[in-house]
């Protein structure tokens, strides 16, 4: 390789190193707004889906989704709003037809999507995930999908929602607004709330939301949420010693009239670590930069090693000569030094 190849290689190595240092340095300077303490405490979110006890949520109770983005969007009435690109949009309640379609639920159907937000293939996949969890575990998760910027009506009866009370067993109902995983609500039946602490459930919801937020696509977010939920429900069961179905469990349901208390769990109370798109991409790029740098370093090392070896061989060969033996050949054709032979050719 000539001098130009050496310079090119050194230039690429230096550029890679600078990029990596810059990438590392960027961790301390995020392009995100600085969170104020109040915002972190009331963060997140979730809210607007179902007010507590039929009352309208007030600011500071952690039920306002508008507080997700700091210094923005608390509606005038304190009702949950969704802020998108600086425009405040109040949440819309789903209509009666939506609730009616929720009641049309087939046996073994765990995903309720009256608005047709996901395709049939995705519904089947999600249903399979939840059905597997229901069969193998104790807690039977159900999923209700709401369109984005929508909420359930005030005062809706959870027990009658999707005919949940008819299902029985230990149940968990997830109300999920498409594309807005931070607004998710988990409703657990009494059996769960008696055995599992609120903090644990809150953290469970939090982790599911965090996993969902790693993606930017609504469908992918939903899928990630459901998978994470199934996994964490299994862990929850194991940690709390639920190995077999307890007798009499079939009578338990969500919101049943025997006084079951519905535990409403949100992911409030903790800091939701949501990575921005920028951070995610830089994390991926940083890994590849390390790989590229390592490869370049290896190539450079090999190249230097080969050059050194070649130099050594060349130096050794400079002190070496090749000697031919003296041969006596009787002269031919009158030539003292050459007796013909050789050849010629036209080209």
């Amino acid at each position: 390789m000539g001098g130009w190849a050496y310079k090119w290689l050194m230039g690429v190595l230096a550029l890679t190193l600078v990029s990596m240092v810059w990438a590392e340095g960027r961790d301390g300077v995020l392009p995100l707004p600085n969170w104020e303490q109040e915002e972190v405490q009331i963060f997140p979110l979730g809210g607007g889906l179902l007010p507590k006890d039929g009352e309208e949520p007030r600011v500071g109770e952690g039920n306002d989704a508008g507080l997700f983005i700091p210094n923005r969007g608390v509606g005038e009435k304190g009702i949950g709003v969704v802020v998108e690109e600086g425009v405040e949009r109040p949440l819309v309640e789903v209509g009666v037809d939506f609730l009616q379609r929720l009641d049309v639920r087939a046996e073994g159907e765990y995903v309720l999507d009256p608005a047709g937000l996901v395709g049939p293939g995705s519904v089947e996949e999600l249903n399979r995930l939840l059905a597997t969890q229901a069969e193998e575990g104790q807690v039977r998760p159900h999923l209700i999908l709401l369109p984005e910027h929508h909420r359930l009506p005030q005062g809706v009866d959870l027990g009658k929602l999707g005919r949940m009370s008819e299902m029985g067993g230990v149940s968990c109902m997830v109300v999920y607004a498409m594309g807005e995983p931070w607004r998710v609500r988990l409703f657990m039946s009494r059996r769960v709330s008696e055995k599992v602490s609120r903090d644990y459930l809150s953290k469970l919801a939090q982790r599911c939301i965090q996993d969902a937020m790693k993606s930017e696509h609504a469908a992918e977010q939903l899928k990630r949420f459901v998978i994470q939920l199934c996994v964490r429900l299994t862990w929850m069961e194991r940690e709390h010693g639920w190995t077999e179905r307890e007798p009499g469990l079939e009578e338990d349901g969500v919101g049943e009239e025997m006084g079951a208390e519905v535990l409403e769990v949100t992911a409030e109370g903790g800091e939701l670590e949501v990575d921005s798109v920028w951070e995610r991409r830089w994390r991926e790029v940083r890994q590849w930069l390390w790989v590229v740098f390592a490869l370049l370093a290896v190539v450079y090392g090999i190249w230097r090693g080969v050059r050194w070896l070649l130099n050594r061989v060349r130096q050794r060969e400079q002190g070496v000569v090749w000697m031919l033996p003296e041969v006596e050949v009787p002269p031919r054709l009158g030539g003292k030094y050459c007796g013909g032979g050789g050849g010629s050719v036209k080209y």
């Binding site: 030539g335 013909g340 050719v345």
Partner: protein, 220 residues
């Protein structure tokens, strides 16, 4: 087995004349003379090499000469004289070339001559007696065949470098690898130096006591 430069018949050893056509060196001497001719490593009478090409070839020939101190390789670019074939010319050159200057220590028996006629588009290659066993006739013919393509494209430098490379590879098979001599370290003791160089002391004052010197003075 070598061939006659004129009729290409196989030559028997120690024949004054070709058994087929009665060819000998004298016939070429009649046309070209029998005086010694000077031949450098690279001669470009045809002016077909650029300065850069000439330097590159000279460098290559220099390296070759350093590796094979016995062998002289002469490359000649020039027009073929009339009445003489390329084989006859190379045969005559090897017997009549006079090596002087840096090549004085080498012998014609260890010489290799490559002659290229860019006008007549002919190339010839021949070797001295001492190299016949290593650079056999078939090898020389194979090298000539490979030369045709680069010479046809006027790639003279590449052609000569190819010949040198093939010669080097072939010669190494028949040669012995020798490492150049180490530096001589003189002995440290004076007596050893004198013994080594076979010299006696000029004066007896060296190593003789003063009283002895005074005694000798009185005697004189």
């Amino acid at each position: 087995m070598m061939r006659c430069p004129r009729c290409q018949a196989r030559l028997q050893a120690a024949l004054e004349l070709c058994g087929n056509c009665d060819f000998c060196l004298d016939e070429v001497d009649v046309l070209l003379g029998n005086d010694p001719v000077r031949l450098g490593r690279l001669t470009d009478r045809a002016h077909c090499l650029r300065l850069m090409d000439s330097r590159r070839l000279e460098e290559g020939l220099e390296v070759f000469a350093r590796k094979f101190p016995q062998i002289f390789v002469g490359v000649y670019f020039g027009q073929l004289p009339s009445g003489v074939s390329m084989s006859e010319l190379t045969f005559w050159l090897l017997n009549r070339v006079y090596l002087d200057g840096d090549e004085r220590g080498r012998r014609n028996e260890f010489a290799v001559v490559l002659v290229v006629d860019p006008v007549g588009k002919t190339v010839g290659l021949n070797v001295g007696y001492a190299l016949e066993k290593v650079l056999v006739q078939r090898f020389l013919e194979a090298v000539l065949l490979e030369l045709r393509t680069p010479l046809w494209h006027a790639e003279y430098v590449e052609a000569v470098e190819m010949v040198l490379s093939k010669l080097e590879r072939r010669l190494k098979k028949g040669a012995q690898r020798v490492v150049l001599g180490q530096e001589f370290s003189p002995p440290e003791v004076e007596e050893q130096i004198l013994d080594a160089v076979k010299l006696d002391r000029l004066r007896e004052g060296v190593g003789v006591e003063e009283s002895e010197i005074l005694d000798k003075k009185e005697e004189w």
